[in-house]
């Protein structure tokens, strides 16, 4: 898994590339925690290039999502597709996660809140 960060106005977009599994999901968690320390307030997690996620990956997303919720900051997860979408649907978390279709929609969603 490879993580890249880019910025659109005040929003930081994390592009996740590769599989999110037991052996690397913690890295996304660590990165977001580091960004929180640096007072980043608006996050978009782009899952466009994630084709596989296991329960640890879902776990990482839940952790990130609830931490950000607790701090009253903003997060949107976007471009969920394929088996990743299936897993999230199965675990009934589609409503739990703030989700948008594309990165642009995610940014708009954050701006609208």
């Amino acid at each position: 898994m490879d993580l890249k960060i880019r910025k659109s106005a005040e929003t930081y977009i994390i592009d996740v590339n590769g599989e999110m599994d037991l052996y690397n999901s913690y890295r996304l968690k660590e990165l977001v925690m580091k960004m929180l320390e640096k007072k980043v307030e608006q996050f978009v997690i782009n899952m466009e290039n994630v084709d596989y996620i296991d329960s640890s990956g879902i776990g990482a997303l839940i952790y990130i999502c609830s931490t950000i919720k607790k701090m009253n900051l903003k997060l949107v997860i976007c471009n969920i597709h394929g088996s990743v979408k299936k897993v999230i649907e199965l675990t009934k978390l589609m409503g739990y996660f703030p989700i948008a279709g594309t990165v642009d929609e995610a940014i708009q969603k954050i701006a609208a809140e």
Partner: protein, 657 residues
């Protein structure tokens, strides 16, 4: 012929030997002091012969008995030829002029012989031939000198080349004058002709000496370079061996770079992954910011240092940001001549005279910049130092990359050891035997991927005539996941037997007990059901697990049961629903985890719920134990040689009466 013999005999031999010896010693001193590297003893002997022949020719002209003139000329030609041959061996070049000279010498000797035999016709013939070879010789020398005298040859002979050309012109003019008897003038023959050869040889030798000096200088530099790099590599290796500390490696790198380049100071900047800025990481000596800073900051050294350390540099901005953005080394040899350093003035606190920046790369990604600076305008960095710092940078990149890989590997190893312990805990969790009752028959299967499971199932006799089945999938693996399993199991066992308990209530309590107590990413999906043998009532509650699969024997069809609810462990206040149904004889229920229906074959296809249903429908009349084996066999057949990537668990229950 008689003349030659006579001259030879009447020559005071001792004087000649003495003269040659004196020449030899003089030359030896010259060659030693000027490091004439081609000066092997043999070559010096040849030189002595050459100079000797000129000396004797001059003596002969002055009336002192010496060698016969043509013989002297022959000696000159032969010795110069051999000299060129030797020079050619050292410089790995072919001096064809040497062969032309040898040809010339043969001509001289033959002409002397013919003259002695007094055959006039042959004498003229050979003299003509001689002139032709002389022309060739002169022309060739012209060509050779013009070759050396170009920038392309790397050797500019300058004044020497011009002098050589001048003597060659004199030689050529003499040859032109031959028809008018110019060649017969003793002074011309004895002195001017050898002079042109002498200048030519001297030029070549000088060129060679310079080339050799340059080569040995480069070799010395390279050796020094190699030594410092070897030391650098050994010490960086030791630094890592002592402690796996990246900061220490960086400190060491700056220190070595500054020392090797004899710089005033150096620094390493690291790219901050998510801000797209560079931050100062390690500083050594006196390294002022190589860009303009506010005037206020410059006043105090303390301020300057704080400013430099606390102000990040955006990628692409300033000369350091440029180096990181382009991934290419930057060499500012002289800051006076570089437009990027215009802010730099000699009176300034932050004056830098010479600067080298080299990127630290991981693959194609720049993760930092190594920089060294000289603040003395009389000490500018050279290309050699640039090369060395580049090598330092490359090696540092390599080391840090391996260090990262190693740290990741360590982490993975720790994780694996953790998994081993977890597997042991799990061994204790699963029921050791299934309850035996006449109303139902049961079978259970659980196969962890990679030795440790995130899956857990349990079968509990709640009270007489009622049984509870649960299957759950905990996120993650290892000890934390096992602890969540322990918590689920403990709470379930504790509360399941209480009166008026329902499966949804059990899930509520399990969730309440776990949410907020374990890290949020340790959630679990849980499916739980209870079945009453007498009333045939089944209660089912689902915390985001797969729906319950029921095979209805009467209809020969499948039915799924599901309830709303997010996974266990996320939110304390979650309330779960439940759904009831009545089972009949022969009905079969299946609880499973996603590892079963998502099991993949080598083509990447999934086993799917449909395949599971096909096996169940076909063999529903078999005992659950037998059916279990058939399902496993079918699954294994489908998966083939593909690696199991997730835990596989299922529980079967059939109503017997």
């Amino acid at each position: 012929m008689a003349d030659i013999t006579q001259n030879f005999i009447f020559n005071p031999l001792w004087a000649q030997v003495f003269a040659l010896l004196a020449l030899y010693l003089t030359l030896r001193n010259i060659t030693l002091s000027k490091k004439l590297v081609v000066g092997s003893d043999f070559q010096q002997l040849i030189l002595v012969l050459f100079f000797g022949s000129i000396l004797f020719a001059v003596l002969g002209l002055a009336g002192i008995p010496a060698y016969q003139l043509p013989v002297t000329l022959a000696v000159q030609a032969i010795s110069a030829g051999i000299f060129l041959k030797i020079l050619g061996r050292y410089t790995k070049k072919n001096y064809y002029a040497g062969w032309l000279l040898a040809l010339n010498a043969v001509g001289f000797l033959i002409s002397v012989t013919l003259a002695a035999l007094q055959t006039a016709w042959f004498f003229h013939f050979w003299e003509s031939a001689l002139i032709v070879t002389n022309w060739g010789y002169v022309a060739y020398q012209f060509y050779e000198v013009s070759q050396y005298n170009t920038p392309k040859s790397g050797v500019l002979l300058d004044a020497r080349g011009t002098l050589t050309k001048l003597t060659l012109w004199i030689h050529a003019v003499i040859l032109l004058l031959v028809p008018f008897g110019g060649y017969q003038i003793p002074l011309v023959q004895m002195v001017l002709l050898p002079l042109s050869t002498l200048v030519y040889l001297w030029t070549l030798t000088f060129w060679h000496r310079r080339a050799y000096a340059r080569m040995s200088h480069q070799r010395d530099l390279m050796e020094k370079n190699m030594n410092s790099q070897y030391e650098f590599m050994t010490r960086i290796g030791n630094a890592i061996a002592e402690k796996l500390d990246i900061d220490r490696v960086l400190d060491f790198v700056v220190h070595s770079a500054v020392k090797t380049a004899n710089a005033d100071g150096g620094a390493i900047f690291l790219v901050d992954e998510f801000d797209d800025v560079l931050r100062v990481k390690a500083v050594e000596g006196d390294f002022p910011p190589p860009y303009d800073v506010p005037a206020k900051v410059k006043l105090k050294a303390n301020n300057l240092e704080n400013f430099f350390k606390s102000t990040p540099i955006p990628l692409g901005e300033t000369i350091i940001g440029e180096c990181a953005a382009t991934g290419k080394p930057i060499f500012v040899r002289d800051s006076k001549l570089d437009p990027r350093m215009v802010h730099n003035s000699r009176m300034d606190q932050i004056y830098i005279a010479s600067l080298i920046l080299t990127p630290l790369m991981q693959g194609k990604k720049v993760f930092g910049v190594l920089a060294i600076a000289s603040r003395k305008s009389n000490h500018l960095f050279t290309r050699e130092i640039l090369g060395q710092i580049k090598t330092f940078g490359d090696y540092t990149s390599l080391t840090i990359n391996s260090l990262y890989t190693y740290l990741q590997l360590l982490e993975k190893q720790e994780m694996e050891r953790d998994l081993g312990i977890a597997a042991e805990i799990q061994g204790q969790l699963l029921p050791s035997h299934l309850p035996r009752v006449s109303s139902i028959s049961l079978a259970a299967f659980s196969q962890p991927a990679k030795g440790v499971s995130g899956d857990y199932y349990d079968i509990i006799n709640i009270r007489k005539g009622q049984i509870l089945l649960t299957v759950c999938d905990v996120a993650g693996k290892g000890i934390p996941a096992s602890l969540v399993m322990v918590m689920i199991r403990t709470i379930t066992h504790l509360v399941a037997r209480q009166p008026q308990m329902t499966v949804s209530r059990i899930l509520d309590i399990v969730n309440w007990g776990i949410a907020g107590r374990v890290s949020l990413d340790r959630f679990a999906t849980v499916a739980m059901l209870s079945y009453d043998f007498a009333s045939h009532q089944l209660e089912y509650s689902n915390a985001a697990h797969h729906p319950l699969l029921i095979y209805r024997a009467e209809q020969d069809d499948f039915e799924t049961l599901d309830t709303e609810g997010i996974p266990i462990g996320l939110e304390r206040k979650t309330r779960y629903n439940q759904i009831n149904t009545v089972l009949r004889k022969g009905d079969l229920i299946v609880l499973y985890t996603d590892g079963i229906i998502e099991a993949m074959n080598e083509k990447g296809q999934q086993y799917s719920l449909e395949s599971l249903q096909v096996v169940i429908r076909e063999h529903h009349q078999e005992s659950p134990e037998k059916l279990k084996k058939l399902i496993i066999a079918d699954l294994e057949k489908f998966v083939g040689k593909a690696k199991q990537h997730d835990d596989e668990t299922f529980v079967l229950m059939r109503v017997e009466h």
